[in-house]
Symmetry: C2
Subunit: 467 residues, 2 copies
């Protein structure tokens, strides 16, 4: 069917595995997720070293990302041990109701079918072969075909091997998980177009995400796409916060901005800082911190080239002032612009993937709200407030709710906590579907749909819906 026989083979196996896999007891799938987590732990320092070698990410980061990944797998395993993972509902019938009897209706959510997951360059573990989307899909009862990111094939192979072994050890069909290698633009698109695939999860560039969404919408049977694409993660420094502790704010901001060479979807690319007491100190301290930051290698040569080009283009826009530049290349950078220029120049709102941030100086609350009008959807929005800012913050937060999937107070957007109340998502173009999250237990809903059972005899009902 496809020009990529490996896509056909993988999806055909996933389709064949779907029936038996989705009917496994949730505890079996919990055991699978635990076995995958244990297997990843068992890879030990080999895995961290491979991540480091393939991605330039420091060993400490590789280890912490590994722990995040295994915690995430185990979190979904614990979810499956409880009663709520598939959101069952029972509405008992009433044969005596007038004028018509009320039927017995019982509802649960079932998996959509085989899911295509695209590994992300910047999270070789937590958003790749055994990342959040794979964990959520496997928990839901959906087989997964992962398109490995070309930037970390050995990491993907090691983790993929663990999943395959875990399936084998538990006697589950091998088709529940396949890892594919090849270009996203051709093989990846063929995967999205394959009729056996019923949902897609992607983390990457806006262009690639939109291409995937277009392919999925053009299928004879369209399918949901969860693409996480682009976010500049605005930070709002209210006047009281700037007056209270401008230097602490600046140090916190700079640390978040350069963390991991800025290669996070949640990197704070925009800071809206109020003119007034504290702004000069904030700017001075932030600029000093960025100036002192040495360049770190980036994930790939392509990402580095795109970063340097994006950073330098930003500096060439009239009205944009370079405040600081780190040492070496790819150097972090910090720019400043006034609100009027920001409002007039759409290019200032684009994501520069990497450690470049733009401080926008703002005159007053009304101008803040005008700036909000031109922002696109975001994964996060962050506010810092002092005691005197609470009224303004209370007026700002409803705007931020419409802008972003997560509102952070007094901290920084980098560092996503994986839990039951996590939202890593947001309005377009942060994601293609603001109705879901890619991180946390709520992510299982991505791959589920509701089915109702009307007047089924107990023997024919799914076990969890039986009287």
């Amino acid at each position: 069917m496809s020009e990529f026989p490996q896509v056909d083979t993988a999806v055909t196996a996933a389709v064949a595995a779907f029936g038996p896999y989705r009917e496994t007891d949730p505890l079996t799938r919990a055991a699978l997720l635990d076995a995958i987590a244990d297997g990843i732990d068992g890879l030990g320092e080999d895995l961290a070293a491979t991540v480091h070698r393939e991605t330039n990410l420091p060993l400490a980061r590789a280890r912490s990302e590994r722990d995040r990944t295994t915690n995430q797998l185990r979190m979904f395993a614990r979810l499956l041990e409880g009663p709520d993972w598939n959101r069952p509902r029972i509405a008992i019938g009433d044969p005596g109701r007038e004028p018509l009897p009320r039927p017995d209706l019982r509802l649960r959510h079932i998996p959509l079918g085989p899911v295509a997951v695209f590994g992300a360059s910047n999270f070789p573990l937590a958003f790749s072969a055994a990342g959040g989307d794979t964990a959520a899909a496997l928990a839901a009862g959906a087989p997964v075909v992962v398109k490995a990111h070309e930037a970390h094939p050995e990491t993907s192979r090691l983790v993929g091997g663990v999943i395959t072994e875990a399936l084998h050890a538990l006697g589950l069909p091998a088709g529940v998980f396949t890892l594919l290698f090849g270009p996203g633009r051709t093989l990846g698109q063929a995967l999205v177009a394959h009729p056996g695939i019923k949902a897609v999860a992607f983390t990457g560039s806006r262009a690639a995400g939109l291409a995937i969404a277009a392919t999925a919408a053009a299928r004879p049977v369209p399918i949901p796409v969860y693409a996480e694409m682009s976010s500049v993660n605005p930070v709002f420094l209210l006047p009281g916060a700037l007056a209270d502790a401008p230097e602490d704010l600046a140090r916190g901001f700079a640390a978040s901005a350069v963390l991991g060479s800025g290669q996070f979807c949640t990197n704070p690319g925009l800071v809206f800082a109020r003119n007034g007491s504290g702004l000069d100190e904030f700017v001075k301290t932030a600029a000093a911190a960025i100036s002192e930051t040495a360049a770190q290698p980036m994930l790939t040569d392509g990402i580095r080239a795109a970063y340097e080009a994006g950073r330098d283009r930003l500096g060439e826009i009239p009205g944009v002032e370079l405040l600081a530049r780190g040492t070496g290349e790819p150097a972090p950078a910090l720019y400043r612009v006034d609100a009027a220029t920001f409002l007039a120049e759409p290019a200032l709102r684009d994501e520069v993937f990497g450690a470049t941030s733009l401080i926008v100086t703002v005159e007053d609350e009304a101008e803040t709200h005008r700036l909000l009008d031109v922002l696109e959807g975001q994964l996060t929005a962050t506010i810092h407030t002092g005691q005197s800012d609470l009224d303004e913050a209370a007026r700002l937060i409803p705007r931020l709710e419409l802008l972003a999937g997560r509102i952070v107070h007094g901290g920084w957007p980098t560092g996503v906590e994986v839990g039951h109340a996590t939202v890593h998502g947001g309005p377009f173009p942060a994601t293609s579907d603001a109705r879901s999250t890619s991180v946390g237990t709520l992510a299982i809903d991505r791959f589920l749909r509701p089915v109702a059972y009307q007047d089924l005899p107990a023997d024919l009902l799914p076990k969890e819906l039986r009287p």
Copy 2:
């Protein structure tokens, strides 16, 4: 912006109303829904008479649909009185966690924004101005712009007037609800394309639903579309059921098939009946019942013309046998075909909107499963079993789960119970988004998205998430 100034006016008012409306207390929205229900009750026989005059639906049906509509509004009002309508989650922080503190994360769902609802021809009340999607959106905190169906303008005006009065009486912005009149292909499409609209709900034809989905996907900011389009609602008569009570089955089937001139999304258009004991009696009794059924007027001349053409085309397909035809026009009809012909001829799977059904005779279980392979997604799938059929039914139901949103045992698909465990939805092309339902309390999820609040001081948290 649009070539339809009334669309701009309506959406601009909806956008302006969104902020204050979504921040109303849920009990205020419950009061609004109750007031709308009371107002519809207050229209009394005028409303039933108007429905009857505009749609040809009998008075008794108009009254029962009115009761369904008001019950639905009140059901959402009761939902808003509980704690779960916006699915809050709290994950308390742990400042002492090592190596990093765990942030406090609290999640709730907020409305997407103004919703466009397209009234349906076949449910002038329950799927129109104050229908299920309007009720769910208003409950969620989303303003609604309804494109009234051209087949029942006065009915829409009466009900729309009630909503406008209820908003006024409660001091809520008029922009929370606007009723628009005009052609779906032009004005309706302009509404879907308007940047202020954040979701679309539609019930109607496959062609119109696909056109709306294409417009929504092509917007600079794509939006979710919930289009209910096409379903033939297959019924599976297992051998034991046919042997046990073929005549009762036939009478039940015929009553469901001709109910409301077959103008239901859940009309049973296809019956897969096993060759063997009982089939002849089933066919004979069903044919007799259809033959004795007099034509009833249909909703519009266009629907009638499309029905008669579709019915007659079906009869012209080689291998299709006319079993019965009712009296007058638009006459109900019953056809029969064997499984091999059905498998070979895709046109036999298309919906004929109206009281025409096709019996497909099936040799055995294996052939049933081959037939299932060629069916498109459905709103419902129905099975009838005898004692001897339970094993076969247990193998069939997992297939039906993947086919449809609701599985009915021992009954008929027409008649949708409105409740907490209802699913009125299903895989494409039954709907454009199988992840949701248009009927029942779960429908509120259509218009909500999750937002997480990280480390917000209590004063800045939404009330329901405060410590």
